[in-house]
Symmetry: none
Subunit: 196 residues, 4 copies
């Protein structure tokens, strides 16, 4: 229903950016429910009324953050797509794996926001997931002309899951076997695209 209001003047644009950043950090630290609008506004150095001027409620703010993440990842995938014909399997594997790693922090925030706000869990996250998988499938078919639609679909699911898993392996701080495990994982994904 309600949507974020686009700032029109210079000052508003800067303020919205600060509000989004503040929202990202507070949500990341405390989670959706525990985060308070008051603290978000304070951290952005804005009065609470200004926060509500642009984001008429907490949900809208969370949605804006998720959208920002989605844009970033989609842009990164589009960049790969533009160069995919020049890549071999190992290179493509590495490029894909790096997409989510590059946006790891933003990603875990976006997922937690999506999860936190839906009683039927997974309904909304699914939309984002689908869209990213579809993009990966497109990249695969562009990369390997003979790939059937269905094959590309299944592979996109596997690859996307592998991408997410690698992020988890990366994010967790220091644990025994971390470096080797990451190497195993990357190796597996390279092989998955090489032995095709």
């Amino acid at each position: 229903m309600a949507v974020a209001k686009e700032p029109k003047r210079q000052r508003g644009i800067a303020r919205v950016a600060r509000l989004l950043d503040a929202g990202a950090s507070v949500f990341a630290e405390q989670g959706y429910k525990a985060a308070t609008m008051t603290e978000i506004a304070a951290r952005a150095g804005a009065p609470i009324g200004s926060l509500y001027q642009f984001f008429p409620n907490k949900d809208v703010l969370a949605d804006a953050l998720v959208a920002r993440y989605a844009e970033h990842v989609e842009a990164a995938l589009d960049r790969i797509k533009a160069q995919v014909v020049d890549l071999d399997g190992s290179q493509l594997a590495d490029r894909l794996l790096d997409v989510l790693i590059a946006h790891a922090a933003e990603r875990s925030l976006a997922l937690s926001l999506l999860d936190a706000r839906w009683e039927q869990p997974g309904v909304r996250p699914g939309v984002l997931r689908e869209s990213l998988r579809r993009r990966i499938a497109e990249i695969l078919r562009l990369w390997h002309g003979k790939l059937l639609e269905e094959e590309a679909q299944a592979m996109s699911v596997v690859l996307f899951q592998a991408m997410k898993s690698l992020v988890q392996l990366h994010e967790e701080k220091r644990y025994p076997g971390k470096a080797e495990a990451i190497a195993h994982w990357r190796g597996w994904v390279r092989r998955y695209l090489t032995e095709i």
Copy 2:
């Protein structure tokens, strides 16, 4: 600090079980923050005072639920451990993969509870993770006598991540390429343990 009080009488044991079940369902539906102690008590058919008798605060209740999940999974891993010498690589892969799948619902609840309550996310989930990985590493060394401690560690990380990933692939309801993706994934894990 505070811990759950052990019920002493027959009636107390039954009531604690109902309180835990009610807590599980409310937490699962609404998330940690949004769940209210009042509703949990009501759903268990118990007065709020009784809930606080056994679980002196909300965190203790959540911890008890996580502990219940941990016990179940550890028991399942112990059962594999007891039979591991008779299993080949494919069988071991399947047995491990099925452990988390069998407790998928309980698992997602436990993880969300752990995540929801810690500002530095992942600190507490890590404890659970470590304990399960360690168990997997033990299984691997028992299974394959020549495996070095470090190798077993790295492999346990990869395997545990693969187990979690398969749960995610399973849990997400109907999407294009689901069956094939799951088959790919299982195949990969079998090969991982076969080509050792």
Copy 3:
């Protein structure tokens, strides 16, 4: 949806009475929208949480006040009904006119509460009005056996309107012609029931 919770213990009964009185006075002074739950609780000497214990939201409190008024008026009409056979036209007129006058303050509060809370004004006030008119019609038919249902209905509308009007004439403080106007009005209603 939500309704007032009935107090069960002695203390609760007293507290609810004080909350209702406080609500009545604050609503009467400031109007529904301008009245604050905080002030109502304070004036009743109760913490805000107690107010919400019994009246889960502002609307429910207002409804309870309207209901209290309705009960009082209905009881007064029922008392007339019980004695109606012994009354002549003038006496019945006076008795009816006095009902609303006796509850004038409560009445204007109830009406303002009903008016303030409904976008389509008059929808809910209508329910109260209907119920009171119906009671008046019953009284008329009991009083004058030969009255047809439809005649009684029309007369109840006229009488009820005349009752409300007299209240307004009364309530307005000092103005030229007040006493005479009231006398005219009473005279008219007496004649209305005498010349039947």
Copy 4:
């Protein structure tokens, strides 16, 4: 204190008219307190700053609306006054009764605005009421030369109340006995002026 600024140019006049209309509709739908200046401006298609240009605060806008109603009704009474010598009692009764009915919507708005904003209810409404009663008394004395000032005053009170009551009988939508009740009421007022 503050008063509405008179628009000076063509554009201002049109804009003030649209603001007043918007104010009327929003006040009528939501009541004085619940109506927001922002919505009023929006409904008039004007920026909020423009609304405050002409009506420096919410009260001034409400006052302007009441004044607009008063002008309309006073003009209607003046028209009757100009023709009163040619009217018999029944005709005069009907002319008077029709004045308020013709402005019923505006009237209920004006009354709600007057009622809503004054803690001591009736203070301001009284001013309007007095002015209209005085006009009615003038009409009566012009109509019936021998009427004493005091008689005319009392009658103006009764008549004005009867006029308001008829509006209420009219405005309420469909109820049993409506048509007959209205006929009774009109009949009574005619007789009141005929039997003088």
